[in-house]
Amino acid sequence: MRLPDMRVLMGSGMVVLLAFALVLPSISPDSATTNMATFTLMYVGLATAWNIMGGYTGYISLGHAGFFGFGSYTLGLLLAKLGVAGGYTPFLFVPVAGLITALLAVLVGWFALRTRAATFVIVTIAFMFMLQLLAENLIGLTGGGSGLGFPIPPWRGDFYDIPFYYAMLVLALLGLAVSWWIRRSKFGLGLLAIRDDEDKALAVGVPAGAFKLTAFVVSAALVGMIGGVYGYYVTYIYPQFVVDPLIGISMVLMVFLGGLGTLGGPVLGAVILEPAQLWLAYHYGASRLYLVLYSAVFLLVILLMPRGIIPSVRELIARWRARAPAPQKVVAP
């Protein structure tokens, strides 16, 4: 039997998934499900955005929660200073928040990308805690520990989650489109070369510095926009909940579970882990056992599947294919 063409299979699978994502709010039984789907899409977007930097260039940033929180605060402050009322207008300011986050990312990338590997990881962690401290301490601007409020959307009951669901969907699709384009472009090829061997990449003429910074900024801007929508969704943000190390590590874990540096990996990882995480939080959130269970899931994922689902499955298929086409011998009667 001839194996179906992988591309056709993947393509039709994606169309089905997209159609499902589009109609999900109308077939969702209750707003709790829509809420769960919204958070899952949020993580699809976050993991996809993180993958552009972490997966393609191999620079592991644990500080993306910093950009998430920064985007969130930026949108909140923009809306507050401009006096924007709740409704659909705040969504128009999300790209502005993304742009401002991009500016911050240029600054952070400028010093963080001087370091490599382990040092880079630590510098990004330090950056995240620095932002958290700023959010806590610039009380006049951010409200400090008492939080920052967003305009209250006028939607009620069952409809409330739906605009946010579609906003997250749009951002996730935007992230995927960017990620897909980068993967196919010469720019993406340069990023992969940097991941494999930065010095060799430099030697063959890849402008590593500019490429890394671009990937970093694109990734951060996407995360910042998602952070903005998140802030509007939850309507009240606090430094330790938007600049949350757990958010930063979750997106990384999702990428690793699905497959580092693949287009679909982050999606797969987010779709598996986020509902699991929400389920654990819902059932065990009251006790600290939630954290223990989450860490158990976490450690199992890394130890059992260090290369991620998609690369592992791909390898299986390749092995299977290599074995399968043993030509059938025609035996004469």
């Binding site: 001087r114 630590i122 600290r288 223990v292 860490s295």
Partner: protein, 291 residues
């Protein structure tokens, strides 16, 4: 001025504690090339172990180290064998995730057993103080400092005066070459992780006496410890000690001169400034830390 001087003295004393905690972290990095993001959680675990011993059986916190340090050493060896050794590909990134997962698990377990209320280890000497010039210094800071100094000294003796220490240093310099000359690097790695944990236990006791803590305290701790070892240069013990002193002295002086809320921030600014000039940190050996 007196305030600043007092802060500087206190900074040096607490800097010793951070030097001890950071040296364990940088040792682990040096030997295994992994970033142990769970180090802060292990310090907090050490603090809770001593807290429990003191709380239940009234064992003196410093004395409890006789129990907690070996326990943490064994735990470290086990953790290394179970969670770190299996990582073959992409060690650097995966080790961050694994140790982060461990930190979350420890935080969760501590929260389950001890709740998330803040606690502090107390002993008779924690309020006693003696005068130096125009201000008073609590005994506990001096005792903690001396303890950390003693353990750091023991660590240096182990590293520079024993053959096992040479094996550790050889592994830090070049893992493959160490293997070629017959060093069992897996054993060295497990022991180094154990040593790191034992020093975390010791650091934890002093941390627990001088600070109130809860299971979530490890985030703040690890962000400080990581910035210390980056400032000092990853894998450099000397660097970690000096960076710890710089950090604690600047943060303590900032706390009294400007405001406590900006204390940690100033240190991050120093870190950024140093990295702009020396991306490898103060005592880092090479620009290329990718092996």
């Amino acid at each position: 001025m007196t305030l600043a001087l007092e802060a500087a003295v206190l900074g040096i004393l607490t800097g010793g504690v951070y030097a001890l905690m950071a040296s364990g972290l940088t040792l682990i990095f040096g030997v295994m090339r992994i970033i142990n993001v769970g180090h802060g959680a292990l310090v907090v675990l050490g603090a809770y172990l001593s807290f429990a011993l003191w709380n239940r059986w009234n064992i003196d916190p410093f004395l409890s180290l006789v129990v907690t340090m070996p326990v943490m050493f064994v735990l470290g060896v086990i953790l290394q064998i179970v969670f770190v050794r299996p990582l073959k590909t992409d060690r650097e990134a995966l080790s961050v995730l694994v140790t982060y997962g461990l930190a979350l698990g420890i935080e969760g377990l501590l929260g389950y057993f001890f709740t998330s209320n803040y606690v502090q280890i107390t002993a008779w000497y924690d309020t006693a103080s003696f005068p130096i010039g125009s201000f008073r210094v609590a005994y506990v800071y001096v005792l903690g400092f001396l303890l950390c100094l003693a353990i750091l000294g023991a660590m240096f003796l182990l590293l520079y005066r024993t053959s096992f220490g040479s094996a550790i240093r050889a592994t830090m310099l070049n893992r493959t070459a160490a293997q070629l000359v017959g060093i069992d690097v897996d054993r060295v790695s497990a022991f180094a992780f154990g040593i790191g944990m034992a020093t975390a236990a010791a650091g934890g006791v002093v941390f627990g006496i001088t600070n109130s803590f809860n299971p979530g305290s490890h985030y703040d701790l690890i962000s400080r410890l990581l910035t210390i070892i980056v400032l000092g240069g990853l894998g450099s013990l000397r660097g970690a000690i000096i960076a710890a002193l710089i950090m604690l002295v600047t943060t303590d002086i900032t706390a009294v001169v400007i405001s406590p809320v900006w204390a940690s921030f100033v240190f991050f600014v120093i870190l950024v400034a140093v990295l702009l000039v020396r991306p490898q940190g103060l005592f880092g050996v090479s620009v290329r830390d990718r092996l």
